[in-house]
């Protein structure tokens, strides 16, 4: 359990800084990409902000458990193991979810691609952290 929680919290903290910092910068640097979010599909009254910001820790703890179970399958340097881990997560979990999301919701391809890339980047960063601190 300790091998899951501790790396999960470390990865969560790092992802929190990278992801929300990156998102903050992206909104300012590429505002055009975010205009699609002026859409009633997205929560707009702020009552779920806490859940939004907890996401980095939720994904990190889930991936930490996944890493602990399957880390023996990933070989090579810690960078390579993290990269492969990220791609496995993206193909097994993200791709099907993004597929059904795009097919069911009135959102653009660009939006779905950005979510896929965001999730892939999160999983690669988390994988590299896990490979380093929980090899």
């Amino acid at each position: 359990m300790k091998k899951v929680i501790f790396p999960g919290l470390i990865a969560g903290t790092i992802l929190f800084i990278i992801c929300y910092g990156g998102l903050y910068m992206a909104v300012r640097l590429f505002p055009g990409l975010f205009m699609e979010y002026n859409n009633p599909l997205f929560n707009s009254d702020g009552n779920r902000d806490l859940l939004f910001y907890l996401h980095a820790f939720i994904i990190s703890l889930a991936l930490s458990w996944f890493w602990e179970r399957f880390k023996s399958l990933f070989h090579g340097s810690f960078l390579l193991r993290g990269l492969e881990f990220g791609f496995v997560y993206a193909i097994v979990a993200l791709l099907p979810v993004m597929w059904i999301t795009f097919s069911a919701l009135d959102i653009t391809v660009l939006m779905v691609l950005s979510w896929f890339s965001y999730g892939l980047m999160q999983a690669i960063v988390a994988g590299i952290i896990f490979a380093k601190i929980n090899p």
Partner: protein, 203 residues
């Protein structure tokens, strides 16, 4: 004898007074029929873009009654225009849906602008002018009084265009401006509202 003379004088005075005195009667009320091409436009912004939404027409004309339409004197008005929130068009389907939801369209489908007064009756035959007025705006179940700056443009004896503008806030109507992605995308509280009244004057 003296009493009789006094009585005659009094009767003469009363007769003359009633013959020549005219009470100060105010001008009769005037009706303004709001035409179908009345519009309401709101301009707002978020931290990433600007938006402009319009109700482009007014299919159910209403009548305003103007009391005391003497020029250069304040006039009182009764009557209102009632607009459908559903009619807002932001030139972008998602923005349109978003604004309707923000304005609580399901609970409060109408916007009511009740006209209270004007600082003076618009110059009928002259040039465009600036006048002030007061309205009550009822939106999302909240009524708020505003002072409005009007630009009046006469279009002949019986037609008039009034363009009223005022800055309003979402918060004036207990509406929380939308925020998304944990507040990274935020709509600004301030809106600029402009309504155009196309009036047919009935005496």
């Amino acid at each position: 004898m003296i009493m009789s003379a006094l009585l005659k004088s009094l009767l003469l005075f009363v007769s003359l007074y009633t013959a020549f005195w005219r009470p100060a009667v105010k001008s009769p009320a005037v009706k303004w029929v709001l035409g179908k091409d009345c519009t309401l436009k709101v301009n707002g912004s978020t931290n990433i873009n600007k938006f402009s939404c319009i109700i482009p027409d007014y299919p159910k004309p209403d009548t305003l009654t103007i009391y005391g339409p003497d020029q250069n004197e304040p006039v009182q008005i009764t009557g209102s225009m009632v607009l459908d929130v559903q009619s807002f068009d932001c030139h972008n389907l998602m923005m349109t849906k978003d604004l309707r939801r923000t304005l609580k369209q399901k609970e409060f489908p109408k916007i009511r602008i009740s006209f209270i007064n004007l600082s003076k009756y618009p110059d009928k035959g002259g040039e465009a002018e600036l006048i002030k007025g007061t309205v009550n705006i009822e939106l999302a179940g909240v009524k708020k009084r505003y002072s409005i700056n009007y630009r009046t443009i006469p279009s002949g004896k019986a037609k008039l265009t009034l363009i009223g503008s005022q800055t309003i806030n979402f918060s004036d109507f207990d509406i929380v401006p939308p925020r998304r992605l944990g507040g990274m995308i935020k709509t600004n509280d301030m809106l600029s509202a402009e309504f155009v009244l196309k009036v047919n004057i009935l005496n």
